[in-house]
Amino acid sequence: MSDLLELSVAEAAAKIAAGEISSDEYFQAWRAAALGDELNAYLWQVEEGNGYEVQEGPLKGIPIAVKDIFCTEGSPTTAGSRILEGYRPPYTATAVRQLDDAGARVLGKTNMDEFAMGSSNENSAYGPVLNPWDRERVPGGSSGGSAAAVAGGLAPCAIGTDTGGSIRQPASLCGIVGLKPTYGAISRYGMIAFASSLDQCGPLTRDVTDAALLLAALQGRDPCDSTSVGIEGGIVAPSREDLAGLRFGVPAELARDEIDAGVREVFEATLKRIEGLGGEIAEVALPSAEHGISAYYVIAPAEASSNLARYDGVRYGMRSESAGDLLEMYETTRAEGFGPEVKRRIMLGTYALSSGYYEAYYGQAQKVRTRIAEDFDSAFAGVDFVITPTSPSVAFGLGEKTDDPLAMYLNDFFTVPMSLAGIPAISIPAGLAEPPGGGQELPVGFQIAAPAFGEQKLLEAAYALEREIGFDARPGGVDG
């Protein structure tokens, strides 16, 4: 059984297609592994049997862990919130349906920060997810359950969503690959909305090839999402083995940013590897990126405050038992149903959109967003990619940042600018580093960003670099 779990998704799919292993045998092996979840990675797992028919396709028989933000018809979908406890959607998200059409099968729904608001998975109403490398530490967030499931051997691959880093940062902290595609590459239909102009679905996998395989099935235009355009020409498995002729831009601003020494060391070593593969390192300027966090924490809460108005205790989700008249019912339902971070962001967002403050906050943030996108445009005129560490630190301790929301927000420093610009970015594991206080070594992610819809080129470069890095460390050395 365990041999099956060692296969990458691409290898397993090839063996299933060749009839060397049965799709049912493969699925059951993973189901057994998922049932052993000690990380609180899953909020729900598929039941046995139920007459499921596997579709023919490139992902035939591949089990997939799905972040609990995607609607799945008839199965619980909570977005990590009490307010959706018990909700069983009447329809399935397009992203999940497309995976299903390609032959994949939902293995379970993964834990997450409530409505994807968080960078540590500690904002879930259903308890934190534990990092498989060190169970005293966070897996990152908001797609923490998906990242921990893949890193912890509880799923062969997963999907998540990234609004300001929610795929890339947990992938980095868990030592796996996480890809945020270009905004518009994948349909958002049936993906519970947080910040609609930023939210984007993407894969979390063990390697770059598997990320390409999932993206190929996920991308596409969907009549149900007018902002979805798909990726012209589709996506194929990457095969590039060198980086000759490619230019990688390191933001000049990186030199003065606060980055853990261990993370910086791994980053520098990776630059050497790029050069070893024939790639060229250049300096680029992203002068507005330092305002990314400020702009993001205006724009995302503003959009969230509008999106979350739908949870009114009338059409779906919970309604407070102690309801009086209509207004009291709205108030008590939201007071009981939303957690503290969600309340914080709704208040920030409504404040930023209020008359008298709109221009100073939201208007100004939208202009910063333009500046950040222009920075990337200028950078990409001279380089093929922009590279940074994915996160300024390795996985931090559970509870370490929960009392200081701003410190938590600053963890997204390197991932937020790409989200604001809408461009694709991937995090690949680049090595291990000791946390600042010393102790067991933990994974460090390396982020590569490309121009809009440059996913194929991005995957090719990440693939070549992944081979060179040869990251093969696995969690479990300490805690089992």
């Binding site: 909700y87 069983r88 959607p89 009447p90 329809y91 905004y183 518009g184 102009s197 009549p223 007018s226 902002t227 355009v229 305002h291 966090i293 400020s294 702009a295 924490y297 205006v298 205790g313 009338v314 059409r315 779906y316 989700g317 919970m318 309604r319 309801a323 009086g324 008249d325 209509l326 207004l327 009291e328 019912m329 503290p340 309340k343 914080r344 208040m347 920030l348 404040y351 100073a360 906050y361 208007g363 100004q364 943030a365 939208q366 202009k367 910063v368 967003r369 333009t370 500046r371 996108a373 200081d404 929301p405 701003l406 927000y409 604001l420 610009a421 809408g422 809009a452």
Partner: protein, 71 residues
């Protein structure tokens, strides 16, 4: 929570000091033009299916408490 929100707003206030006169605001990164599809009816959720997740469905409708207390 008041202290936390103030701290966040203090940080966010930095962008208020930037000179962004004349910069176009970005509300969305995908350049899309509005297109109209043919006005043809398509299947939608059946009423009972749409009502199934509601906390208090009643005779084919969503039911909510009265807007007025003691009504």
């Amino acid at each position: 929570m008041v202290g936390e929100l103030s701290g966040i707003l203090d940080h966010v206030d930095r962008i208020g000091k930037l000179d962004l006169e004349g910069v176009e605001p970005t509300s969305h990164v995908v350049e899309l033009e509005n297109v109209l599809r043919p006005d043809e009816p398509r299947p939608s959720l059946a009423r009972d299916v749409a009502l199934a997740p509601a906390p208090d469905p009643y005779e084919g409708a969503f039911r909510a408490p009265s807007p007025q207390a003691d009504a």
